[in-house]
Symmetry: C2
Subunit: 343 residues, 2 copies
């Protein structure tokens, strides 16, 4: 007898928490969408399709961030970088992007044009072409100006052997930089809290970091993800669940700016739950962790990369954060939706 | 000296006509989006990417149809069939689909579930897997329940040599069935006009028709398209422009149901401007036209397939409709947006 471990989706209507990337999103995707669409197989962020013997990764994301522009970036840049990042952490070299725009009637052409320019810039910086697309227009009052869906395909690097099943006790947890910048920047841009800050979104391609890790570690690179909605906490909880092990973080090792910490304290949020749009989390075999970290730190924008913890055998399926002079806390998945429409 | 033939986009804001698939859409796409995103290259509905020597077609579409369900189909079915059809008319065998959902907060789970089921059904009927996806939730009042973006990749059939440049005077114009059913069905479902009718959307995969044409005609199949937004008129005007020839339709040969004709007369619309979601238009060398038509008619749902006209050398870049006992009229691209949010 098979006992399904999938959460059942029993909510009678969809609410904002189902889009937040945390527990409710997981219930919706795994309890309703996957059983309906995915059949027996998984319905992952980036899937792999065999094309005449070549492993091709494919990934799609819709961006509905509010406001359209914020310090350090905008929806157009986010849409291109986000899809490139999903390919990159899947171990794939991007081959092409397509994009689909839903534009609200009444949107000034200048606003649209600025986002097209942002998309083109991000694609050019990553060396990927946008090869096709679609455009729809919806009535004024719908779509908040612009929603953008980007889909990317990429060739999976045969050296990458990424899977939660490859993760072993003793493996190290690396992050590519400061955590939580994007989420808090968007929150501040909305004026929801009154706080002076120079914070900027971290939106960027993480492909250089992913490529360096694959090159340095080969099959000793176990797993990568970009911790967007739901933050590092949610991403690592999914890993802990999927590999059946514990991820133990060193509280003091987590690179978080004072401004992000301050805003989080004010709002009662955990920086580990805040979305990032230009970071990756990687699990690396212990013997290669310091070489890998050195490579990350040597890359432009990689100076804040850090070794933030270890995979341990127990407590199974759990993420812990241990403070140097203090206790140990359980780091859960994001619950609720403290930061709607963050990407 | 190169003189650009691209229309300049001078409108200061986006309105519903820019999403209607006609002249205004063309100006937006070719005058603003392509120059920004596509660089020198084209930004087509289905683009072709080389993957280690295999030609892979990729296409993306967002569906924003209102209402979500209508006689004969729903947004979920439309989203899957629409992307399969873009691949099919590009001469490609679908390999995989991904989908991204934008759900309005407050949408009943039952409504979402019904559309997931519709998507799964359409994908299963076409023999294609939905391998990945994304889900976003936006506030109540946005997104009219559900927007769906589907992206598909497919292997291009090497026998297909489809291009407007392959079209020659004397080539025949074939259509796979009744025209205008989808657009008028959605219009009636909105209650915009009061008309009794058994009309149903034609949403379906056109892949069997496309495959039969490739098999029957090989390189003598010149060009295919699915005439969705903007209808057959807009699709053929784009062809006429791109091949520099005339497309001359025989008015009486066009398969249009009485109900569609009636609704169009009432509304002052041309059935050739009405969206189809389960038809293709093909240009075939004259010697193979009757064999091709026979193959189409022998397929399930192909009994209304018809030879509707001919490619002629002049008037260049023009579509004409000739009535047996009457005059000749110029069939222009769709202007304005008589049928918003039709797909």
């Amino acid at each position: 007898m098979m006992i399904s471990t999938l959460p059942r989706f029993v909510d009678t209507q969809i609410d904002m928490t189902h889009g937040a990337g945390g527990k409710a999103s997981r219930r919706l995707v795994e309890g309703l969408i996957v059983p309906r669409l995915g059949g027996a197989g998984p319905l992952a962020d980036a899937a792999c399709v065999d094309v005449d013997g070549t492993a091709v990764a494919i990934t799609t994301d819709t961006f509905v961030v509010r406001p359209l522009r914020f310090p350090g970036g905008s929806i157009g840049e986010l849409a291109v970088n986000g899809t490139i990042n999903d390919l990159a952490v899947g171990g794939a070299v991007p081959l092409a992007l397509v994009c689909s725009l839903v534009i609200e009637a009444g949107t000034p052409t200048a606003v649209l044009d600025r986002e097209l320019e942002a998309m083109a810039g991000a694609a050019a910086r990553a060396g990927v072409a946008i090869v096709g697309g679609d455009t729809k227009v919806v009535e004024h009052g719908k779509a908040d100006g612009l929603y953008i869906t980007t889909t990317g395909i990429g060739r999976v690097d045969p050296r990458a052997r990424l899977s939660p099943g490859a993760v072993r006790p003793g493996d190290r947890v690396l992050v590519s930089g400061q955590l939580g910048d994007h989420g808090i920047t968007v929150l501040l841009a909305r004026g929801d809290i009154d706080l002076e800050s120079d914070l900027r979104s971290d939106t960027r391609s993480v492909r250089p970091f992913a490529a360096a890790l694959i090159e340095t570690c080969g099959a000793d690179l176990r797993w990568m993800r970009d911790p967007t909605r739901g933050g590092v906490a949610t991403t690592l909880n999914e890993l802990a669940r999927d590999c059946g092990l514990a991820v133990v973080l060193a509280e003091e090792a987590l690179p978080v700016r004072d401004e992000v910490r301050g805003a989080c304290e004010l709002l009662g949020l955990d920086p580990l739950h805040i979305a990032n749009e230009g970071q990756l989390v990687a699990i690396v075999a212990p013997g290669l962790a310091s070489a890998a970290l050195e490579r990350l730190r040597a890359l432009p924008g990689g100076d804040a990369a850090a070794d933030v913890g270890e995979v341990q055998p127990a407590p199974a399926r759990t993420v812990l954060a241990v403070a140097a002079y203090g206790g140990t806390r359980v780091v859960d998945m994001l619950v609720g939706d403290p930061l709607p429409r963050i990407c």
